[in-house]
């Protein structure tokens, strides 16, 4: 199962990841981080495809995505 990790303290709550996640599984947390923003978080990790769209749209490089090793070429 792919894994998305958020470096919460770096998140500025811009919601771009949330908007662009094709699975719609990112939400903004209720609490605020030290910078005063509601950080993004995955609410349904199971559904994550590891597509990394969220990461590619995150301006603050908050998100890391890991996936099962597949032999490619």
């Amino acid at each position: 199962m792919p894994r998305v990790t958020f470096r919460e303290e770096r998140c500025k709550g811009c919601e771009l990841c949330k908007h662009f996640c094709p699975k719609g599984i990112i939400e903004m947390a209720g609490h605020i981080n030290a910078m005063g923003f509601h950080p993004a978080t995955v609410v349904d990790a199971e559904s994550c495809t590891g597509c990394a769209t969220c990461a590619r749209m995150c301006p603050d490089i908050v998100i890391e995505v890991e996936k099962e090793e597949k032999k490619v070429g």
Binding site: E15, F37, A52, P59, D60, I61
Partner: protein, 248 residues
Amino acid sequence: MKKVFTRPKSLKDMPFHYCPGCTHGIVHRLVAEVIDEMGIFDRAIAVAPVGCSVFCYEYFDCDAYQASHGRAPAVATGIKRVLPDRVVFTYQGDGDMAAIGTGEVVHAAARGEKFTVIFINNAIYAMTGGQMAPTTLLGQVTTTTPYGRSREVNGCPVRMSEMLSVLDGSAYIARVSVHDPPNVARAKRAIRKAFEVQEAGLGFTMVEVLSSCPTNWGLSPLKALKWLEENMIPYYPLGEYKKPAEVG
């Protein structure tokens, strides 16, 4: 588990000072990824502008220069002429490159200087508080066009990619955008091409990136991307304006 997405090595591990949702961060990452992927980190030299991205000299972990406002192309010329085998890029905003630095970028392009300009067009002077830039759209309200940019008073926005393409010394010029994932991918490809054309010594290269400034546009990060798509792209058509025959 394999990391399919992680922070590029060429970016120092520190937070950006940019506002929430500012696409400067995306472009930084793309440039750093290209440097990593091309394996040129050790030879890379960044020239930072004056503008919101002034601190990019901190973020890019390669050697760097902080240039005076608009003069990054002249500084890059000095560097590259002394060190012709390095990969030199400037990172400049539209105030920096399309206003005060017009002379420097035009002549760097005319001379065919072999470096790459990453040109962030966000239609505003962001750092200084949202004044009209040469790239500000007609009707756009800014702190110095409180009644909207007027054609009669301020003239029409300048299209730098089109203008610089006219010069014989420019080798690769493209306009891209980062308002959605497919465009981010295209933007990265353009940046890579520009660096490759520089490495091939074919001439001046520039990638103009349509970018958002939620803060000074007074829009949420998401609405800003939508505004960019709906307003900027029609006036600033995306595409490769110039490329050498050698490059696909």
